[in-house]
Symmetry: C2
Subunit: 122 residues, 2 copies
């Protein structure tokens, strides 16, 4: 098992960030980490919005976020604590993460009621 790697702040790229956050699941994970007071473990996300995500898939998503430089992960006992690197990134790319997260929030709020009802029922 290779050790966890985190890119240095200078190696973080805009295209990497955009690609990582262009997946709705990863964006949701990132959003939740950004809102959380304390660091979250991976398994906190096995169940997301009424959808269960396989462990292996989740692991890949966390790796993608980590390698894009969006989060920092450290082993703490048997689990992994994840936190965002938003301060660092905000310094290098001011406003980027904020705009992306705000846009996702807007999009979520703009979904038509009928569509939301259908999604809940289905």
């Amino acid at each position: 098992m290779r050790p966890l790697t985190h890119p240095s702040i200078d190696d973080i790229t805009v295209e990497g960030i955009l690609h990582a956050l262009s997946d709705p699941v990863r964006a949701a994970i990132y959003a939740q980490l950004a809102c959380a007071d304390a660091a979250n473990s991976c398994s906190a996300f096995l169940q997301m919005e009424d959808r269960s995500i396989p462990k292996s898939t989740l692991s890949q998503h966390f790796r993608a976020l980590r390698e894009a430089g969006l989060i920092r992960s450290e082993r703490r006992g048997v689990e992994m604590l994840n936190s965002t690197r938003c301060e660092e990134i905000a310094q290098r790319f001011p406003g980027l993460l904020q705009a992306i997260m705000q846009s996702y929030k807007t999009q979520l709020g703009a979904r038509k009621p009928a569509a939301r009802r259908r999604a809940k029922a289905g």
Copy 2:
């Protein structure tokens, strides 16, 4: 040949925008369209930053940008005129495109001189 399709403003998604702009070539195309006074044809981008891009690949990139809702394309005689839909998008997702474009610009400016020299030479 199917006619050009443009999503309505309500069908434009954040993930679609991020994915489309997570490709540096597409981001460069979009940036140039955003800066241009008049609409640009596709073939204006066959040569980008000392790199030539195959016509078919370029066509796919334009389709990706179009289907993400980032640009509008219309036939004008034998060629295609492309322009951004940034006003519409800015209304729905304020600040998003601006932040992304500004970040790319920052990234470009932050490349170390040595790396830039090497890139130019190679």
